[in-house]
């Protein structure tokens, strides 16, 4: 640590480097598990979600549900057919909502507008809403991500 020592600088330097080096390696080794612990990676997705019974969805219903831990909109058209969309805006991930007055899906954050087919028809959204798959099994409505 001092420069005025005439003898043995190589050994002293070596020890200094050894201490500094091993301390640095140690710090990295300690930081690695901490970093891994903090970011635990991806858990298996919950998968398809039962969102309700057919009887709860008369034609013309739009309902917000949770699928895969994320919000989604289930739309039952007047002809009885089902469609479901991820309720996450393709612009900046706000949650979109159904507007019954204008019969369209709107994002309140930056005035994004989607048609009831999920198409981006106004505002900043760059893509249509992601479409989800709807299965009706013995009166139970199941929504799952496509693919």
């Amino acid at each position: 640590m001092s420069n005025d020592e005439p003898k043995g600088p190589p050994r002293r330097d070596f020890l200094g480097i050894a201490v500094g080096g091993s301390a640095a390696v140690f710090a990295v080794a300690a930081a690695y598990p901490v970093a891994r612990f903090i970011e635990p990676g991806t858990r298996p997705r919950p998968g398809p979600a039962v969102v309700g019974k057919l009887i709860e969805f008369p034609p013309g219903t739009v309902r917000s549900v949770m699928v895969d831990d994320r919000p989604a909109l289930v739309v039952r058209a007047q002809d009885g057919s089902f469609r479901a969309f991820s309720a996450i805006c393709t612009h900046l991930q706000c949650v979109v909502g159904y507007s019954p007055e204008r019969n369209q899906i709107e994002c309140p954050c930056h005035r994004g507008v989607y048609s009831m087919d999920g198409l981006n028809i106004g505002g900043p959204p760059p893509r249509p809403l992601e479409e989800l798959q709807v299965t009706v099994n013995e009166g139970t409505i199941i929504v799952s991500a496509v693919g």
């Binding site: 050994r11 091993s22 390696v25 080794a29 298996p44």
Partner: protein, 468 residues
Amino acid sequence: MRSPSQKLFALVAGVFVAAVAMSPARAVGPEGAAAASASIAPGPSASASASASGSASENPAAWGPQGRVLPPAMDATNSCVACHITLTDQKLRAPAKEFLTSVHSDDRIGCAGCHHGDPRDPTVGAHKAVGFDPHPTHAEVPDMCAACHSNASFMRTINSRLPIGEPELYRLSLHGKLTAAGDDQAPNCATCHGKHDILGPSSPKSPVNRANIATLCSGCHSDGKRMAKYGLRTDQFSRWEKSVHGKAFKTGNPKAPTCIGCHGAHAATPPEASSVGHACGRCHEEELAYFEMGPHSKGFRKRGLAECVACHSNHDVQPASSLMVGTTADATCMKCHSKDDKPRKIADELADLLRGARGRAAEARAMLARAREDGLHIAGAPYALDQIATAELKLRGVVHTLDPARLQAPVAAVDKAVDEAKRLVDDAARTRRLERHGYYAALGISCVLFLSLALKSFQLDRRRRDRS
């Protein structure tokens, strides 16, 4: 499926009631006979149709509340009980005592509801009233109960949730037919439910409570002397006890069938060989559906073989095993097909598919269990086990088609679930190995740090000492 059979039952019931009513063998008292013949006055065919619509018992009958015009205040005191409860003769006192603890201890029913007489008269004069019947005969009892229990409008005034019409179902049963034919050994309502001390089936003391019902049935059906007359076996109860159903019942499984699960309660009748599948199919729906797709369904019917029972037996049904399929000596297939070439070939094929898939599933399960014991936590393990179990369940159902081609898909589903489970275990094991190596490396690095710090400390010390 249910309503046509109900209609059929009702029709049979009507015809039967009419036949019984006209039967001279019916042993009833003079008043009872008079009332019965009065009720069928319009003729047998009219009675049958009336019974079919469920209104026969609403006619003024021998027993029941219809004829009661007693002032409520008088009813409330129930002078029969008030007097009988004070008697010292146990034979006369016990009915009153028992009645007070029963479900029928209701002033709208009272003693006179069944025995008639006039409870308004607090003296023995009550016994002299018209219709008083202290000792209804064995065959009379069902009519007595039916007076209320087949009377929908009356039952509604007591408790609108109570089921209605069990006496009609009973009359359809073999028990009911025998009783009506004058067989005192066949059970009537009181044999199972008790007489004065009748409790609701939800009471654990009730003999017809779910917990007691198998014992109740076996009370007669395991009695060799009693059954000899009917040529019935007496081992059903002991076989059921050892069956998968009986064992499940013992462990408290609420879905495990007791006697009435397959035979029905009031309408207890042995299922016909050709229709036993429907009894089993009430719970084992999927197996029945697949069975009916297979070749045995028609073949069994043609030969009069009992569908499910032919392979699985009835009262002593054992857990199904993949060993039942195949050409080994104790395989069930060999009971009939030991010399048939084509069925043998199919049996072998089925056995290979089934045992292969189930073996692989068992292996994967054991692998997950081992991994857990080794402290490997696998986040997806419960899901993977679920997947395997679901795929196996499907496979176990599809086997009943006896069609190797149909088995391919469920076997593939099992294999897919098994592969997924194996992949999870492998991943977890690899991660664990990596972590272990990381731990050794970290300990090594710590030791190097320890040593270099210690050396540095020594060096510092020595330099200071040198200087001083």
